[in-house]
Structures are given as structure tokens and as C-alpha cells.
């Protein structure tokens, strides 16, 4: 079982860098949420960067959990940025109607960190 052992959370500049394993099962996804929230409290982080660049398939449970986690992180005073979604995953996600609930996204970890340094919701509001 690839539960907690395969989830990696690194703390950089009060930000949680979370790497999601390539083929996360439901248990791993649930564990991920708990680990992230626990770490939020432990280090009083300002945000979460969720690197999903190794994820090859995205199911609705995973998408819902990520969106939920982002809302929970937000309640705890942080922001979540999803990084590195593969084109094929994005195509499937939009086709089956997964939107990640308007979560913030970035092309790279570097850009995600830049985004977290700026005032919240700056990107989407600027139209």
C-alpha cells in the first residue's frame, strides 16, 4: 500500500511543497488531505504548492479532494496552487467536467511561489 509513505511534504519559505505520487489511490488521496492540514497547523504555513506533474490519471475523487483541501487550507488562512498538470490530464479533466473548483494553478513551482508572494486572488480578479 502506498499510503503515507509516498507523500512528500517539504517546507520552503513557510510554504508546503507537496508532491503527489503518480497513481494515487483513494486512501493515498485521503491521507494527503490529512497530512497537508496537519502540516498547515504545525508550521503555520502561508500556502500549499501541490505538484501533480507525475499524476497520469485524474479521477473525480482526487479532484474533489484537492478542491476540498484547498477550501480547508483557505479556512486555515493559506492558499493552494496546483502545479504541473499534464496536458493529457487537463484534457480528460475538462471533458469529464472536473474544474478543481476554481483553484489557482501555475506552470511551474517557481511561478507558484511567485504567485503566493503576491496578494491573494490577484490573478483571477485582474480581467
Amino acid at each position: 500500500m502506498s499510503d503515507r509513505s509516498s507523500i512528500s511534504i517539504i517546507i520552503v519559505r513557510k510554504t508546503l511543497m507537496v508532491t503527489v505520487p503518480s497513481d494515487p489511490d483513494d486512501a493515498t488521496v485521503s491521507a494527503l488531505q490529512e497530512e497537508v492540514l496537519a502540516a498547515m497547523q504545525r508550521v503555520d504555513a502561508k500556502g500549499v504548492v501541490l505538484d501533480i506533474s507525475s499524476v497520469e490519471t485524474l479521477d473525480s475523487f482526487f479532484a474533489r479532494t484537492v478542491a476540498e483541501t484547498a477550501s480547508m487550507v483557505s479556512l486555515m488562512g493559506g492558499r493552494t496552487v496546483v502545479v504541473g498538470m499534464r496536458p493529457s490530464v487537463a484534457v480528460t479533466a475538462t471533458q469529464i467536467g472536473i474544474t478543481l473548483g476554481g483553484i489557482e494553478t501555475a506552470l511551474s513551482v517557481e511561478r507558484a511561489l511567485d504567485l503566493l508572494d503576491r496578494p491573494a486572488a490577484g490573478r483571477r480578479a485582474r480581467r
Binding site: V82, P87, A90, A93, T94, L107, R123, R124
Partner: protein
Amino acid sequence: MGTQFESRPGAQPGAAAAQTSSETQELVRLLIDNIRDYAIITLDPRGCVLSWNAAAERLKGWTAEEIIGQHFSRFYPPEDLPSGKTEMELKVASQEGRFEDEGWRVRKDGSRFWANVIITALRDAEGRLRGFGKVTRDLTARREAEEKIRKQAHEILEMAAVPVVQVWDGILLVPLIGTLNSQRTQQLMDRLLNKVMETASPVALLDITGVPAIDTQTAQHLIETIAAVRLLGSEVVLTGVRPSIAQTLVHLGIDLSNVSTRSSLSAGLRTAFELLELRVTPRAAAGG
């Protein structure tokens, strides 16, 4: 044979006629032996090789000694044989006088070539079938050239359907022209998403100036594309929203309120610069 050959202009008929005729026959034989581009062979009524010219040897690889007496099905790829293709060809040729075909044929070494084949029934004065003449031309080079042109045309069409160009460091442009159907949307999504990844571009301009009209489905396709690009972490600005399109979108009740939209491509480019925190200033002003 009813045909008259006149080998020398101004030659006297009569006395020289017999000599001319045999000389003509000799010339025809030389023609068949020397011709390079046509493999000319004769078959007996059952389809076994009776004669074989030099071009046939060059094209197919067998020498006359090797092939004379063999059935002409030797020249066909194995998959053509069970269907009775060779019998059919001879039947058509004997009924209609000729048979023409283009297809793969096999050389002695097993390699294939694309051939144009004409089989002619050879009948004597009484109408008895004496055999068949078979003229084969190697069209492999022509076929390859045609194939290449077809492939290039297809590539050009595909490229023209959804071009994705990088107009600035970090800014991609997709000038959409013509109606957007599901298949094109799929292509657009694939190409745009891969290009966004490849160039790590934070902004993509989707220009619909060249899209004649927008309906609910087209709008849905655009919304899906925009959503997919955003999942990757890039922002899309929809440009070229002219008055008629704006009216249609509102009348159809299509909600684009969380999509950046601009009326012109230049306005969109300005928005892209803003998103990238770039500023374009006139040269004089830049100095001060």
C-alpha cells in the same frame, strides 16, 4: 497483320516491299529488346511466360531462361493469389480485349514495386486466342512522390486548422479561422496545451476574429479549452470579440464572466503584457 510499316520515307513500294517487311519486323524486335521503361512479355493462353524482354529482366529480376514457361502469378504478392486475381485478369483481357491494373507486384528477390499493367489479348486473323501481351511499367517513384505530396497537403491543412504561434516570450497566439467543430477543438486543445507546456507560456491569446459565428456549442468548446489551459497554470485571453459576437453570446446566455475577453487582438496583447507585468513604452519616453 493489317498494319503497314514505312521504315524509310520515300522508299519505293513493290520490289523492296518484302525486304522492308522483314526489316520492319527486325526493328519491332529491337524496339521490344531495347525499350527500357516497359517490361514487355507474352503469355500463352494459360498465362505461362512465352517471351521476356530485357526491360522485364531489369524490372523483375528473372532472366528469360529462369522465367519462360512459368505462370505469371509469380509476379503477384501472395495475398492476391487466393482471390483468383490472375485468372480474373486473363478472363477480362480475353473477353474485352484488354485489362489494365495498378498495384503491387513482386520481384525475384521478393521486393515489391508499384506497377501499371496492361494485358492485351492476342488473337490471330481467325479470332483464335493465341496468347496475351503484357506491358508493365514501374510507377513506384511516381507513387512515392504522390504519397509525399498527399502527406504534405494533409500536414499543411492540419497546421492551418489550428496554428499556435509564440508571439512574445511567454505569450502564445492562436488565430482561429473558420468554424470550430468538436474535432478541431480537440486538435486545438492538444496543440495549445502541449505548446503551453513546451514553452512554459503563462498567457495564451485565443483570437476569434476569423470565426464567422458563435453558437452554444462553439462557445462550449472555447470554454472547455480555456478551462484546460487554466488547469495547466496558464491564463487565456479571448480576443476578437466583435459586436455581433458579443450580442450573440449574451443572447445565448453564455457566461464568460470569469474569462478575460477583449474586442481586438491588440487590446488582448496589452492585457497579456499587463499579466506578465511588462510595459511597452515609446523609445523617447523610455529614456526619461
